[in-house]
Symmetry: C2
Subunit: 485 residues, 2 copies
C-alpha cells in the first residue's frame, strides 16, 4: 500500500545539466565555488562526508586486495620528472613550478606532482632488491596539481585534484603487470557497482594513452548532458619507467631485470558522477551505500505537541542507530515540515520518516523514498527489517535507472553519416574501425569527437565482420567515440 508524494522531474537535470549541477553543489552544500583561484574549490561539510565515504569504499577494496597505503611528498625535483621522456612531454604544459622559498630562489625547481610515478620510482629503486620483494602494491590519496589549459569545471576539471587515489605496483614480469591491471579493473568494477554508476571499459587508443604507458584501460560514464566523463584509468607501464629510473630486481636465476610497473587512479570525478547520474530536479539522490545519512526523521506536530512527538522521534532515531543505520533527526522548531522536506530532498537522503501524533498512536511511521517519492506506512515493530529492505530497493532502483539511461545513450552506427546523427543524441557511439591510427584520427576529426578506444568489456554491441567507417576496410574491430569532458 503506497501513494506517490510527488513527481520525479528531471527537466532541468537533463536540459540544462551544468546549471542543475552548480545549483545542487551550492544548495546541497557540497562544494563552495567562489574561491578566488581558478580551478580550485572547497569541500563543504556535507560534501566532505560524501567524499570521505566514497574514499573509504575504495580504500577498503584496495586494502582487501593487499595494497598498502603510503604518503609521498608533493614536490618532485625537476630532474626526476624529466626522466621519462613521453611523460614529461605530455605534462610539461600543465606543471605548476615552485621556484622560490621565502625570498630565495630554490637550487632546483620543484614540480607539484601532476601524478606520482616519478616520485615513486626512485624509491622503488631503494625498496626493491630481489624477486622476493615483488609484487609491491602501494596507494595513496592525495592532492595533485595540473595547470589545465582547458576550461575548468567544478569537480570535473580542476587545477587542484584534491581526491586523487593513485595506486602504483611493481612486478617481475609483463604478464604479472597485465594481471595487476586486470585486478585494478575488477576493483573499479566493484567500486562503481557499489555506487550504482554505469560504465564502459575501453582500451584507449595509442594516441591517447597515459604518457609513458604501454597501454591504458579506462572507465567512462555518460553525464546527463550526453557528454562522457572518464572516471577511472589503469595503466600497464611495462618497463618504461623502470628503465628511466633503473629499477631492477634480482631474478631467481641470478640475473638482474628491470621491474614491470602499473598505476591506476580515480579522482573526485567519481563524486561528480554520483551526484550527476542519480540526481533529479529536487536535488541529490544518493545511493544508500555512500549516503552520509541514510534516514532522516521529520517530526510532524501542531503547537503544544512538540515535546511529545520529538521525544518519540528521539527513541526511533536511537533505535535505528543501534541497528546500524545512519540517522539524522531534524528537531529544529523554527522550520516547517515542508521546509525540511525540501532541505533533505536537496541533500539526497534515501529515506525520510515522518512521525506525527496519529502515527505514534497507531504505532506506525510514514516513510518516503527519495528516488521515487513513494510514500508508505510501516508498523513500528517492522522498522528495522522494512527500512533495510527499502534501502536495498532504493539502491537497486538507482542502479537500474542509471543503467537504463546509460543504455539509451549507447549507440551503434555503421557509417559516418549515421555516426554523426547518433552523436547528436548524446552519449557513446560504437563504430566499426580498421584499427589504424590514421582512420581513428580521421574519425575524431570528422565527428569533432574523441575516441574512447576499443571495448574490453562485455558491453560491445557490434559483432562479426564489419567495415571501417572511415576507409571501408573489413575488420572485426570497433571504436567507441563521444564528446568528452
Amino acid at each position: 500500500m503506497f501513494t506517490i508524494a510527488g513527481t520525479v522531474e528531471r527537466k532541468l537535470w537533463s536540459e540544462k545539466f551544468m546549471e542543475w549541477f552548480h545549483k545542487v553543489l551550492r544548495e546541497a552544500e557540497i562544494y563552495e565555488m567562489r574561491y578566488p583561484v581558478k580551478g580550485c574549490y572547497i569541500w563543504m561539510p556535507y560534501g566532505m562526508k560524501l567524499r570521505n565515504n566514497i574514499i573509504s569504499l575504495i580504500k577498503k577494496l584496495l586494502d582487501e586486495t593487499g595494497h598498502q597505503e603510503v604518503l609521498f611528498p608533493t614536490f618532485i625535483p625537476e630532474e626526476f620528472i624529466r626522466k621519462e621522456s613521453e611523460h614529461i612531454a605530455k605534462f610539461e604544459d600543465e606543471i605548476f613550478w615552485v621556484v622560490k622559498g621565502g625570498k630565495r630562489e630554490l637550487e632546483t625547481r620543484l614540480a607539484l606532482r601532476p601524478t606520482s610515478e616519478t616520485a615513486i620510482m626512485p624509491i622503488f629503486k631503494l625498496w626493491i632488491r630481489a624477486h622476493t620483494d615483488l609484487p609491491l602494491k602501494i596507494y595513496q590519496v592525495v592532492s595533485i596539481f595540473r595547470c589545465e589549459t582547458k576550461a575548468t569545471h567544478p569537480m570535473i576539471r580542476v587545477r587542484e585534484v584534491t581526491t586523487f587515489k593513485e595506486a602504483h605496483t611493481a612486478h617481475a614480469t609483463f604478464e604479472e603487470a597485465a594481471k595487476q591491471v586486470e585486478e585494478a579493473i575488477s576493483i573499479y568494477r566493484k567500486f562503481f557497482d557499489t555506487l550504482a554508476i554505469p560504465y564502459v571499459i575501453s582500451r584507449r587508443p595509442e594516441w591517447d594513452k597515459f604518457p609513458g604507458a604501454v597501454y591504458t584501460i579506462a572507465f567512462d560514464t555518460v553525464l546527463p548532458d550526453g557528454k562522457v566523463l572518464q572516471i577511472g584509468t589503469a595503466h600497464n607501464l611495462g618497463q618504461n619507467f623502470s628503465r628511466a629510473f633503473e629499477v631492477t630486481y634480482l631474478r631467481p636465476d641470478g640475473k638482474h631485470e628491470y621491474v614491470y610497473t602499473t598505476s591506476y587512479g580515480i579522482s573526485e570525478r567519481v563524486v561528480a558522477a554520483v551526484i550527476a547520474i542519480h540526481g533529479d530536479d529536487r536535488g541529490l539522490v544518493l545511493p544508500p551505500t555512500v549516503a552520509p545519512i541514510q534516514v532522516v526523521i521529520v517530526p510532524i506536530y501542531y503547537k503544544g505537541q512538540e515535546e511529545y512527538v520529538i521525544s518519540h522521534c528521539r527513541k526511533v532515531a536511537e533505535y535505528l542507530r543501534s541497528r546500524g543505520f545512519t540517522v539524522a533527526l531534524d528537531d529544529r522548531t523554527d522550520k516547517t515540515p515542508g521546509w525540511k522536506f525540501y532541505y533533505w530532498e536537496m541533500r539526497g537522503i534515501p529515506l525520510r520518516l515522518e512521525v506525527g501524533p496519529r502515527d505514534i498512536e497507531n504505532k506506525v511511521v510514514t516513510v518516503v523514498r527519495r528516488d521515487t517519492l513513494e510514500r508508505r506506512t510501516i508498523a513500528q515493530d517492522m522498522l528495522d527489517v522494512e527500512l533495510r529492505k527499502l534501502l536495498n530497493e532504493v539502491y537497486e532502483n538507482l542502479k537500474q535507472r542509471a543503467w537504463s539511461w546509460f543504455n539509451e545513450h549507447y549507440h551503434t552506427a555503421s557509417n559516418i553519416e549515421e555516426a554523426s546523427e547518433k552523436m547528436k543524441l548524446g552519449g557513446i557511439v560504437e563504430v566499426p574501425w580498421c584499427g589504424s591510427e590514421e582512420c581513428g584520427l580521421a574519425i575524431e576529426d570528422t565527428l569533432n569527437a574523441r575516441v574512447l578506444g576499443e571495448p574490453v568489456d562485455e558491453y560491445r554491441k557490434l559483432r562479426g565482420k564489419l567495415k571501417c567507417i572511415n576507409c571501408g576496410k573489413e575488420s572485426d574491430k570497433v571504436l567507441r567515440i563521444a564528446k568528452t569532458y
Copy 2:
C-alpha cells in the same frame, strides 16, 4: 605468575636519541628518509597506519564537539596572504611560491599554504551573515608547506607538514572565542592523555605567539634528549583577521560587528612524540589505544608440527578478532621465532602471544608484554578478559612511565645560576619572572634557551611571592624555559 623475558634497556634511547629515532623510523618501517628533497619524507605502510589511527582519534574528538570537516585549496593568492600584516611578516621567509604553470608565468603568484587562516577568512566572509551563523567551527587535515630555514629533522621539522590538523572557528564575542580556546585545550588534553603523552600547557610570551594572534596557548612535551617539542597550539585571534578580511556579522541588535576567530592545530610531531616518548632500545613501544596491531601471535613448533600449531593459531586469531582486538598472525615459515620476536618488538606491538604444541595441549597461551617484557601464561578460556586487562595495564604503565620521566625533567630554579645548572639536566625549568618582555628576552639570551611561556595548567610548581631571576623584582609570575626543537 610471571617471568621476565628480557631487560628493558633505554641506553641508546637516552644517550643518543636522534640516532635511536632514525634507526626506529627506518627499521620499524615508519618513515622513508631518503627522498631527495630537503625536509620531505615518505610515510611507509606501517607508519601510515599509526599516523591514520592518530588522525582518527583527533577527528573523533573534533566531530564529537561539533567541528565539521572541510577541505580548502592548497593555493593562497598573494593578495590574501598579505592582508594581515603580522602574519605575512612572520611567514614571508618561509613561503613556497608557485609562479609558473607549464611554461607560462601565472597572473598572480600563489603561495602554498603555510597555514590556512588567509584562505579561510575570505570564505567565512561569504558564509557568515548573522549571529545565527555563529559559532562556526571547521577543521581540515592537510599538507602545509614551510621553507624552514633551520635544520630539518624527520617528522619534527619538515618542509611539507603532511599531517596538519587545523581547526578554525568564528564567534560573536571575544569571550566566546576565549571559551573556544578552552574547548580546544580540553580536546587536546584528552587526545594526548589517550596517547599517554605528558605535557605542560603554557601561554606563549608576546614575542613568540602566533603571528596575528591575541594570545597563543601551547602544549609542550620533553623528548628523550631533554629538548622540548611543541606538539599543539591554540590561538585566540580576536578580530585581527576578521578586520583584515572584513568578516562581519549582524548582531541581534541590528548592528554589524567583526567576528572573533580562533585557530588550533597539531601535526605529525604528535606521531614523533608517541614514537620518541614510549620507545626503548628494542624499538617502538606503542600505546594500545593507537597501535595498528594490538596482539601478534607467533607460532612455536618443531619441524612436522607446523600445520597443527598454525591452524590452532588461526583459530585463536579469529576468536580475538571477533572480540574486537586487532591481531596479526605471523605464520611465515622461513623465519625463526627469535627473528619474529625481534621484528614485532621493533614495531612496538603491545602484546605477543606465543603458542606451541605444549600450550595447545595445556589449553593455554604464553603472553609477553612489550613494555615490560614480562611473560605470563593465560588459560585459553580467559584470553578475552585477560588480554583486555593486559592492554589496559600496558597503557597505564606507559602513561605512568612517561609522566614520571617527564616529572624528573621538570625543574625549578630561583636564580640564574641555578637555572643554568638545571638546564644542563635537560627538560623544562620553571623560574620566577617579573612579567616584562625585557627580562624574558634577557633570560632567553643568558641561558641560550627559549621561553615556553607562563603556565596555564595545574602543573606549575613555584607559588607565592617570588623574585624575577633577571631583575630581582618581586612578582607572582613564573616562566617556563627550555632548549627546544
